[in-house]
Symmetry: none
């Protein structure tokens, strides 16, 4: 992509509407019968749409690089994922639904077990049940609300996982993990990796001491480990950069959080794909950019459940006609990264990318699949170019140079 | 490619084996019958392999740029050839089989003829026979073994060409050629292009004076010209960067030298393609990355000998089944650059690139040829991404970001 600054200068406000549908982890690898989930799925609406669109394949970070959800989404939103690296703590905070502010320093936490000499015997405290976790977080939060002028926000995750957010002025990242990553070691304190983070380190280490104090009668969760300390990234917003008024429709907290990081309005929606497509219909007049996130293609890919991934794709296909009735000037249907069921995890393979607008050269693609999109008119390109293409097709970019 | 530092952080050690077969100068242009060497060759094994692989075309440096062997190979090994420019002296030293150390400063030398006033009358000393060259180099080496604390290593090449390596502490490059590049000029001394290279320049110029002294009774080779003074590039090794334990199988010294620069173990092998494929078989258990170099596709391309180039490709094809029996997790067959017989030299055309692993989307390519690979699922990409793709397919890279 050209730099954000150039793109910002070129961008103009228009009434045209852009819809970006992200089927998470959509890309796949052939199963034992030689078919990807897209090839196995019965998707007449997506196939018809592909036949009158321009298609291609995208690389979220770079060829061969498997992206996490953070970098994969940032790319699609037009942010260089190498320049804007979102820390683990921030992503975890987004994942549990915390509304981060630009003052926040977020950390991923584990409940752990230590013996009487302070040696870690289990970094995950026997994977305590989530309910125990919730009780312990409530206990810690009751006892620890502030350290000096810094607010402390403790939020449970699943099993032994929790998130702690330190909120206040003067916090900085550049902090070592307070986690030796191995059983058999002593509880570890955070260390400043640069001078600016010394204040944050003092706060974090006092927090650790307070937790050890509060938890000392508990078993097995009598200690905590913190890692991935990360400052809110303070990304320039899509409004500021491209004069967009964007809205996000996502059933999962992590993706609402990522959308909030780039300044999208978060629309209330339900748990199902039907809910999400209803939400876009109800709000279609109020925004000019819609990000619709479908999670379960990725979840089932991660589970190695090929058949269920196929079903989610087929389910999504049914909502395409209603989406087309809204008549957006620009429609993109793509994935953020591949999650092949055979790998049961994210992968480096490029993502099918379909763009439909009035101003395209329809190509020879006739089906919505990874293999077919190799023939696509958009070719293979970095995901960071996706937003530029959407803006261009929405006539939201003026000419570069005279 | 993403930066080496990011790739280094992502890389993990696994048992999977990667085989990279480089047919030097493989890419071609159509001959008078409209066929490239690959299209004219009978290569049933490569064609079958292409039909179950994912294919594409690579640019070693950039579209339209004709690379030398150094940059073309560095790209394939994952090093940015613009960032890491290997000096002429170093490549010449590798070409004559010198094991360079990180202390070395290497120069390309010519024997030349000067008249009684010191004016160069022939920059190549009438292209003296190689045997004369060898005798003269031995003579010079007898008389000049050290200058101050710097060891001097003189190695003959073909005809009038030789290599001199200065070995010792404190040598630096950034030195002008001691070669006026024209007959009719005086013998030229080296000059420092930066302050740090003044010591090296003094050593080099004393070496030139000593050579003129030793050679003054000889004819026609009574002088020397030195150029391409270059320091060993001290590349980070493939082991250091990507935790690989790599081995190189190459019959020609230059390619063993390039492989040594990136930290590969050099396996003893014979002169023929059969020898090279036997060597990989015998050593297959001992390494996790194999670079196999086939030289003569390039040599015959350089000679403009289309038919002989075709024969080398056909010969290589016969060893593919045995290679597949080794069952490497990742197999790549490609060229480093094109050497079309009609051009009788390297060219800027992209290289056929084939990748076979368990984790690919087989594409619509059915033959191993330049034209067919245009349809390939890998598309067209910079050679510097090749190693990333090999590592990814060997499951040797973890996820970028959470």
């Amino acid at each position: 992509m050209v730099g954000e600054n150039i793109l910002k200068e070129l961008s103009v406000k228009t009434d045209s509407k852009i819809v970006l549908v992200v089927m998470d982890g959509l890309g796949d690898l052939p199963n034992s019968e030689g078919k990807t989930a897209l090839e196995a799925a019965h998707i007449p609406n997506l196939d018809q749409l592909a036949a009158r669109s321009v298609c291609g394949l995208t690389d979220p970070v770079s060829r061969g690089i498997t992206p996490g959800s953070g970098p994969a989404h940032l790319s699609l939103f037009g942010y260089d994922p190498i320049k804007y690296q979102i820390g683990r703590g921030v992503l975890e905070a987004l994942g549990v639904g915390i509304n981060l502010t630009s003052d926040d320093l977020a950390c991923r936490g584990n409940f752990a077990t230590i013996d009487k000499d302070g040696i870690i015997t289990d970094r995950r405290a026997g994977r305590i049940p989530t309910e125990t976790n919730e009780k312990l977080c409530a206990l810690l939060q009751r006892e620890i609300t502030k350290i000096d002028n810094i607010k402390v926000i403790i939020t449970p995750g699943k099993e032994h996982r929790f998130v702690v957010v330190f909120r206040g002025e003067g916090l900085e990242d550049g902090i070592s993990d307070a986690d030796p990553q191995l059983n058999g070691q002593k509880v570890k304190y955070a260390e400043a990796l640069r001078a600016e983070s010394e204040k944050s380190v003092r706060i974090i280490n006092r927090f650790i001491d307070k937790c050890l104090e509060v938890l000392k009668g508990e078993h097995p969760a009598n200690a905590i480990l913190l890692r991935g300390m990360a400052k809110h990234p303070n990304l320039p917003s899509l409004r500021e950069l491209y004069k967009l008024n964007p809205a996000a429709i996502a059933a999962y907290p992590m993706y609402r959080g990522l959308a909030r990081l780039v300044g999208m309005n978060i629309l209330e929606t339900g748990e199902t794909i039907a809910d999400e497509f209803l939400t876009i219909k109800e709000n279609f007049q109020n925004y000019d950019f819609f990000y619709v996130h479908i999670k379960k293609t990725d979840s089932y890919g991660e589970d190695g459940n090929f058949a269920a991934k196929v079903k989610i794709i087929e389910e999504t296909d049914q909502y395409i006609p209603a989406l087309l009735e809204l008549n957006p000037e620009v429609l993109v249907i793509t994935g953020d990264h591949s999650t092949p069921a055979v790998l049961a995890g994210h992968s480096w393979h490029p993502n099918p990318f379909l763009l439909c607008s009035r101003y395209i050269r329809v190509d020879e693609v006739r089906h919505f699949s990874e293999k077919e999109f190799v023939k696509g008119g958009l070719g293979r390109f970095p995901s960071t170019d996706a937003l530029t293409l959407m803006l261009a097709n929405g006539l939201k970019l003026s000419k570069f140079g005279a």
